[in-house]
């Protein structure tokens, strides 16, 4: 007997503030006007995606002491734009990236519960940690948390947020007008939490939302990050997109779930993915090449290596070989980029190896590293590949980002989604009244009530 067809889950990532997002295209629109979010979220709903996904901005990126000029910059406040999108959509989930370092649990938990109420159960939270003094300089708390403390704070933050959400029972609002009882005694439970990071004696003020708890998404990839994922996350947004790599990651993280009493389906892994579609394989390759050249323009390539080397390399030819000088390990030219923590020497060595083994110029090396599209092919080919990843348990689906704002997913929704449906591994319509948990096939949030009462 054949095993049942596994269902593919897709998330729609609004293009961000890095070179993936091509703004030089004449059709590229605003990254902040609401019309862009309207178009984008309607496409996501037309394509029956599980959720739209937004990153978060805490400080504008800088390069060589100036605000970075080459990429799209500026974006909306994550929660505010999701609340507005909730008003103009009916089904699609709304997942925002919100950090645990420069927010307070009470405030963020109430905002997420609010979003869940306003959207009828479609809210999700990509919980990330922020680290550095650069971002901290915009916030009361300021300062710096080292890596371990970041995750300690993240774990405690997530636990406390869950306690706050769980402090109201499902039917907590009595509102008995004739008896004059709005809330029963003991509702909500008081949340007393004393930990290394937070010391609160809280009474949560948002009654339980449709999902009970918003869906928790996680993106960190370190051992601490994976541990946080296994304990708290319900979706992981990973960067492991190559098939073998994706499957190894899938096995590792899902293998840790048992220790927390969780089963395989209680966590979905949706790696980031980019794509280029063509009518033929050849046309798709040309398209991918064209997009890559727009993503990594000569000045973008130089900026990239300047960030790795930590010095001004403006004299170098982007179409020539990598700089032959040693990196300046004392300098930090780039501020505000994520996932660039590896040491300069190690990164330079990796770049050199790639460049020398294949005879690549600066620009071609950077293209290989940052503009290597995940899925390149005909719609049929892309649908088959995505399906293979999911059926063979390398992922549960993907978090797709297009290279254009706001219509970068239109072609995918119109040409690839119908083929996924034909394969029987993608929904034909949204189930009526489904919450984001329902769309993701996640178990309902089990409430762990506290004991004390206010």
């Amino acid at each position: 007997m054949s095993s049942p067809v596994r269902q593919i889950h897709l998330a729609a990532h609004f293009p961000g503030v890095n070179s993936t997002t091509v703004w030089t295209d004449p059709t590229a629109g605003s990254q902040v006007d609401f019309a862009s979010f309207e178009h984008f979220s309607r496409t996501a709903e037309r394509g029956l995606f599980d959720y739209v996904f937004l990153a978060e901005g805490l400080r504008l990126r800088e390069h060589k002491g100036r605000v970075h000029e080459l990429d799209v910059l500026g974006r909306p406040h994550t929660l505010s734009i999701l609340a507005a999108i909730a008003a103009i959509t009916e089904h699609v989930g709304l997942v925002g990236t919100l950090n645990t370092t420069f927010n307070e649990p009470y405030e963020l938990a109430r905002a997420l519960a609010t979003l869940d109420h306003l959207s009828g159960g479609r809210a999700g939270w990509n919980a990330v940690t922020s680290s550095d003094a650069f971002h901290g300089a915009n916030f009361r708390r300021g300062g710096y948390l080292d890596h371990a403390d970041r995750y300690e704070r993240a774990r405690e933050f997530a636990s406390l947020a869950k306690e706050l959400w769980d402090s109201w029972p499902d039917d907590g609002v009595r509102a008995d007008a004739s008896g004059g009882v709005f809330l029963d005694d003991g509702v909500p439970s008081r949340v007393r939490h004393r930990g290394a990071q937070f010391d609160v004696d809280a009474v949560f003020d948002v009654p339980r939302s449709p999902q009970g708890r918003p869906v928790i998404v996680q993106a960190g990839d370190s051992a601490d990050g994976r541990g946080f994922g296994a304990e708290h996350a319900e979706v992981i947004f990973s960067l492991h997109t190559r098939f073998d790599d994706a499957r190894a990651f899938y096995d590792d993280v899902k293998g840790q779930l048992g220790a927390w009493g969780r089963d395989e389906e209680s966590l979905k892994i949706l790696p980031a993915a980019t794509f280029a579609i063509g009518d033929t394989a050849e046309e798709a390759r040309e398209r991918s090449r064209e997009i890559a050249l727009s993503q990594v323009r000569p000045e973008t390539a130089l900026t990239y290596v300047e960030q790795v080397w930590g010095s001004d390399l403006s004299g170098y030819d982007p179409d020539g070989p990598l700089p032959d000088i040693d990196p300046d390990t004392g300098a930090e030219t780039a501020k505000g980029w994520a996932n660039r923590h590896a040491s300069a020497r190690k990164r330079v060595a990796a770049l050199r190896e790639l460049s020398e083994s294949e005879g690549l110029s600066i620009r071609e090396t950077v293209i290989r590293l940052t503009a290597n599209h995940t899925f390149v092919g005909t719609p049929d080919r892309i649908a088959a590949e995505i399906d293979r990843y999911v059926q063979e348990r390398a992922t549960d689906g993907f978090t797709l980002v297009g290279h254009l704002t706001p219509h970068g997913l239109d072609e995918f929704a119109d040409r690839v989604v119908p083929l996924l449906q034909e394969r029987g591994s993608y929904r034909e319509s949204y189930p009526e009244g489904a919450t984001l948990r329902d769309l993701l096939g996640l178990p309902a949030a089990r409430r762990v009530p506290a004991f004390a009462t206010p």
Partner: protein
């Protein structure tokens, strides 16, 4: 002197009477539903109300309600007002959306970018009502501060309480940082210059480098300059220290006069504070608050108020003047305030949605028929509607001054 006013409305869950949720017209089970807020805001938008404030607090008990144990015959629980405003932004057309934000716990950076985002989503209709101070219940929820006060000192004056005075200084810093962040991108910062590969001109984006007594904020906003340039800053004020905060930092102040003499005294104090503290630019707009309960006749309204008071177990008390009466009575009270020279009147409905509907369907038409209501000329943004110019970024001015 003008005798026309804008009408504003102050939305608060089931209404401003503590027993409002027990009325047959109330919808106490829907206070957290998207439909409830969408319908309320659409009603007042369609009626031509200029702006709606939305109440908020960061605690289950109401602010300054430290009664122990918690009274269970009152509405408890609420949604984040800033997100309600963002949610209704695409569902409304012209009304200003003004959520309440407390300045003692929140991050000015997050609040600034949330309001800019509201300004984009509403296409230029964002504002905020800033509230200073932190109740003990709010402090316990955050666990970050131990000091603070819940009540006014015996004198009733903010300046006699070091903690409250500090809270107002913090609110002033907060407002200052909001407007600096809102100015941090010049309008023309995004250049999209394909030939040089530059998306923006870094010289037109400015780190605010703010260091104050309560916080520092270094960088520029993460959001480009929004349609209004600066969303509206508003405050509710009852005495000198808040009047001075309004005069120095706000675009609009809500006041609570109980009679004509009281109004004159408040306006004089606001004027003096403005002369001393207010920079060049627009004059402070002054809106008077009225708490209103409306029935077909004055006596029916008095009966309803008595019924509600009876259920609440005490007579309705408010900082604002209370008008219990017919729509004509409320319209007359608004006309008196208009004749006394306020820029606007903010109505606090005793019961939602009943008194909101009465305002929209009866009070507004009455005011319109007597030309008491300031009509708009199809102005797009909230600032334009209220006759406020779109401010230029201060960083542009600084540059010119060099």
């Amino acid at each position: 002197m003008t005798d026309q006013v804008h009408l504003a409305i102050a939305l608060e869950r089931a209404g401003w009477h503590p027993a409002a949720w027990r009325e047959s017209t109330a919808r106490p089970h829907e206070l957290l539903s998207p439909r409830y807020w969408a319908e309320l805001l659409r009603t007042v938008d369609d009626a031509g109300i200029a702006l709606a404030t939305i109440e908020d607090a960061l605690s289950l008990p109401d602010r300054f309600d430290a009664s122990e144990p918690l009274r269970r015959d009152r509405v408890r629980g609420r949604l984040d007002a800033s997100l309600i405003a963002s949610f209704v932004a695409p569902l409304t057309r012209r009304i200003g959306l003004v959520p309440t934000v407390t300045t003692s716990h929140t991050e000015p950076f997050h609040v600034a970018t949330a309001l800019q985002t509201l300004d984009f989503a509403s296409r230029g209709r964002a504002g905020v009502r800033l509230v200073a101070g932190a109740s003990s219940a709010e402090r316990a929820n955050f666990g970050r501060r131990s000091s603070g006060v819940d009540t006014l000192p015996p004198s009733g004056r903010v300046e006699d309480s070091p903690e409250l005075l500090a809270a107002f200084r913090e609110a002033g810093e907060f407002a200052d940082v909001l407007s600096r962040l809102w100015d941090s991108w010049q309008d023309d910062a995004i250049i999209r210059d394909v030939s040089s590969g530059r998306f923006l001109d870094a010289d037109r984006v400015h780190a605010i480098e703010y260091e104050g007594e309560f916080f520092s904020v270094t960088g520029a906003s993460i959001v480009p300059r929004s349609p209004q340039g600066r969303p509206l800053i508003t405050v509710l004020a009852h005495q000198s220290v808040p009047y001075r905060l309004a005069a120095e930092r706000a675009d609009l102040v809500y006041i609570t006069p109980h009679d004509e003499r009281g109004l004159a005294a408040i306006r004089a104090e606001l004027q003096a504070a403005s002369d001393e503290l207010r920079g060049p630019g627009e004059r402070l707009r002054v809106y008077a608050d009225l708490l209103v309960l409306i029935e077909e006749t004055s006596s029916a309204a008095r009966d309803a108020a008595a019924r509600l008071d009876d259920r609440a177990g005490e007579p309705l008390a408010s900082d604002a003047r209370i008008v219990v009466g017919s729509a004509a009575d409320v319209a007359e009270a608004v006309r008196e305030l208009a004749a006394a020279g306020v820029d606007g009147v903010r109505l606090r409905p005793a019961r939602q949605p009943a008194d909101v509907a009465a305002i929209a369907e009866q009070v507004v038409p009455l005011l319109r028929s007597t030309q008491t209501l300031r009509e708009d000329d199809g102005a797009g943004t909230l600032r334009a509607r209220l006759g406020l110019a779109r401010p230029e970024s201060r960083y542009v001015r600084e540059k010119v001054a060099l």
